[in-house]
Symmetry: none
Subunit: 257 residues, 2 copies
DNA sequence: TCGATTTTGATTATTTTTGAGCAAATAAAA
DNA sequence: TTTTATTTGCTCAAAAATAATCAAAATCGA
């Protein structure tokens, strides 16, 4: 097993899993940890991957892997289920908006093989889709470090230049009484811009966020085509939303989008 | 068993297995290790395979998936020297354009501590500056996977919305006779847009690229404020550029920007 | 067959790569 | 915050691979 072979295997592993640990790679390559570390250092120098403590990640997943990926891990199972439902709505050739939530990020592995166009303000989404069949369009503007995404006036203007078939939007809170709410005004602006320029705007929202109001309320439920949520939603809640005329889907109901 | 037959078998083996060891091949060819090594050296020279320690791999197997950062390794020492000179031009509070070359990428570690605003179309630059004192503004548009950067009409429009104090621009080729040249038209468009909207546009160009013309010529030298290059430039070339009225700097001359 | 040229193989010195132990640095936990 | 546990970079030594040199063997033309 020479360096070229190891390099190939390491990069291949990262392509599949986005990240890998040193000891894990050492076992895979039938070699010692120190050799793996040397290889990783070499590949990192070329920018083919980014070192982390204990391993390496694909370039782009680097920035703040802890906080971002951690956030993705909260309710991950529900979020993945929601993504699964959401992806069904996409047809080949579509143009879609993806905003910068952790849920939309989890959609990326599921759409890499599709010949679609994705317009997004999220850096992790861009990085996750690069090199795939998807044509990626990054929304420009000032980058918010914490959210790893572009926001602001320029970003909104960028979105208004495009029309999409679908918009998938994460929200911090939804309630029948008060509509959509967010933790920041800048995020709300992007959500509205994408919703306004898509034929269908779909909210992705795991059941823990339903009937929770966050500090900034910015839109009614009516302009949005549907809410996709998970199985943990109570029948009572489901009924309540339907009563209010909201098209809410959790994969078990017979209603289709 | 002569060379032609061995060559055939070696290449055939590589085709099947992607890689092969010297001793393994020696056994297969019923010959000694030293002969195999001589054969491999000969075939490597023709580009039919790539040598590794202990064997050889199929060409293309050794190639890096993304060629961008690879370029950073070429002439790295000269490029770092150029960056060092370039950074001296930046003042706190400045707004600067950075395009997507490997040289501008190497500037990032040197400017992370500065309270400046960077507008760039390069994803690696964005990633390298995130979480630093720098305010990052990403140019939006369709992302070119190979260059890891935004290009196109939307990207150019984005740049035209901003005014910068400085633009640092990598170029593929420069010559006194033909001015600037690039390997792609899209890159040239970004270079021009940034140059047009900066008070001072500075070309970063290691000496190996001087007096080299690439396939697409797109600008004269005159609109650019200066060229920063490295010490390896010959005195004759330096004189020739100065004769032509170009402000060219390599850190040793007394001329300041 | 002879002698010259090329190719191959063996030996040795040099280089490259690898692995282990240990102090310092970093992240996680309390 | 301090403490604890990993992880890392470093140096050194061992192992593997290589280049260099020279001798032996094969090839070839006359």
């Amino acid at each position: 097993m020479n360096f070229q072979m190891r390099k190939q295997l390491i990069l291949q592993t990262l392509e599949q899993k986005d990240s890998a640990g040193v000891s894990e790679l050492a076992e895979l390559l039938h070699t010692s940890a120190i050799t793996v570390r040397r290889d990783l250092a070499l590949l990192a120098e070329k920018g083919l991957l980014v070192r982390t403590h204990g391993g390496a990640v694909r370039p782009g997943f680097a920035k703040d892997p802890v906080s971002f990926i951690n956030k993705a891990a909260v309710n991950q199972e529900q979020k993945e289920y929601i993504c699964h439902l959401a992806v069904k709505e996409i047809k080949e050739g579509d143009t879609i908006f993806l905003d910068c939530g952790s849920t939309t990020f989890l959609m990326c592995p599921l759409i890499r093989h599709l010949s679609i166009r994705v317009v997004t303000n999220s850096l992790p989404v861009v990085n996750a889709l690069l090199g795939s069949a998807v044509t990626v369009n990054m929304v420009g503007g000032e980058i918010d470090h914490k959210r790893q995404a572009a926001h602001g006036l320029m970003a909104a203007e960028h979105v208004y230049r495009y029309k999409a078939d679908l918009a998938f939007l994460g929200v911090d809170g939804i309630s029948v009484a008060n509509g959509l709410s967010a933790n920041s005004e800048t995020e709300a602006e992007m959500t509205l811009a994408m919703a306004a320029n898509a034929r269908r705007a779909i909210l992705l929202c795991d059941s823990s966020k339903l009937e929770k109001d966050k500090y900034f309320q910015f839109a009614a439920l009516s302009p949005f085509h549907a809410i996709i949520t998970d199985k943990k939603i109570t029948p009572a809640l489901l009924a309540m939303y339907r009563q209010a005329g909201v098209n809410i889907v959790n994969g078990e109901s017979s209603i289709v989008l």
